[in-house]
Symmetry: C2
Subunit: 243 residues, 2 copies
């Protein structure tokens, strides 16, 4: 275990620390050493000596970076560069969603509207990429969804997978993560508001099939129509009047 050769760079000047600069220095360490997600980070004590601050400060900075998924802390094992996911976005928006609705369901409505907007924005590129293809994986997911739905079971995870896979066809990983993130916010906030579940979920299930068919046939407008139909029961349940 070669532990002497940490920190090629890192605070040549160990004195004179400004608040927050510890976090920045750890980020710089990752950048300067070109670390990728999953790579091991120095131990906390090593960072202490390298940066020249106390353990507490390093720990607070690491917690901060961990909440941003810039580092990942595994108890008793070590710290590693994080996956840089959108988890903090989800956590923040979920909190906002369950906090704000003292008055209205605006927070959740806005999330759903963002989901619709993202899906609609994907439509053009998606049809261009899926036209003339067959997509057995997506069809299999819709099959599962139908089975679960007619059995009265929840199909949340399958739904999530469907939208994630569909978005992955775009080739833009950020968009895919956003789609998944807002899906998570939506499904996390919804049950906490004590609303009746959307009644005609059958329409939602069928709409998934329509989306695949429309994309495969290269009909962007049909895809957009299917997307709107997909969200219609939900928006009805939320009493959305806009858009």
């Amino acid at each position: 275990m070669n532990k002497a050769a940490i920190a090629p760079i890192l605070g040549a000047d160990a004195r004179m620390q400004r608040p927050g600069s510890v976090t920045q220095q750890i980020k710089n360490y990752i950048l300067l050493n070109k670390l990728k997600p999953g790579d091991p980070m120095p131990t906390e004590t090593e960072l202490c000596t390298a940066i020249g601050v106390s353990r507490s400060s390093v720990r607070e900075a690491m917690r901060q970076l961990a909440t941003l998924d810039i580092v990942e802390i595994r108890h008793g094992h070590g710290t590693f560069v994080g996956q840089l996911s959108l988890a903090p976005l989800v956590e923040g928006l979920v909190f906002r969603g369950v906090l704000s609705p003292g008055d209205d369901l605006t927070a959740l409505k806005e999330v759903v509207d963002v989901r619709v907007a993202l899906d609609l924005a994907m439509a053009g590129e998606l049809t261009a990429r899926l036209k003339g293809t067959v997509n057995p994986d997506l069809d299999a997911l819709v099959d599962d969804m139908e089975r679960q739905s007619s059995a009265g079971e929840s199909f949340a995870e399958i739904d999530r997978e469907f939208h994630s896979v569909l978005a992955s066809r775009l080739g833009n990983r950020l968009v895919q993560q956003l789609v998944t993130a807002f899906w998570e916010v939506h499904t996390a906030v919804y049950p906490q508001l004590g609303l009746a579940p959307a009644s005609d979920i059958e329409d939602t299930v069928l709409a998934h099939r329509s989306m695949v068919r429309a994309a495969e046939s290269g009909d962007a407008e049909a895809l957009q129509a299917a997307i709107v139909a997909h969200y219609a029961p939900l928006k009805r349940a939320l009493g959305s009047l806009d858009t």
Copy 2:
């Protein structure tokens, strides 16, 4: 040992704390007391006694919540409920943007594509809302932009304001925050990559005016065209070939 199902209010059970549960208890405190952004939080020492953990633990939890903008810490003054902004999203994406491009500019390209997608998704609703109106504030911003541009000055802040004001017309605050957030990511990452600034920025400036005119005249397709034109110089500079 009894491990789960806590949160009666705060600190009924002072022993047996799991990692992360302190954060959750503080969030519960905000929710149960229906605090709004800007409301004062208890002091750290008060939280210590209330939750029954040490100050260090409370501090780490607070730092975590502060990075999510769920609380705001003011040195020597106190802690307050945060604005629940999308700042953590911006911070994470900026870091990803400057970290990943060892190979390519994909991270930045994806951000720009999201910006385009969001703007295009706004087009329909925006024209519906702006049709037949006059918008001197937006025009004034474009005027300023033209002045700055022809003087060779940067107009980043004005540009930001323009897109923020435009998005605010939607009535969906989340969309507005997303638009602003991705603007920030874009402008924060771009200069760190050592690229030449986009050459024909004049076109970008003019496109802003076209966007306002198109929306005011209720022509959604013209608005979408203006949006595409707005991003064209940038996408050329990035060498984007897709979409």
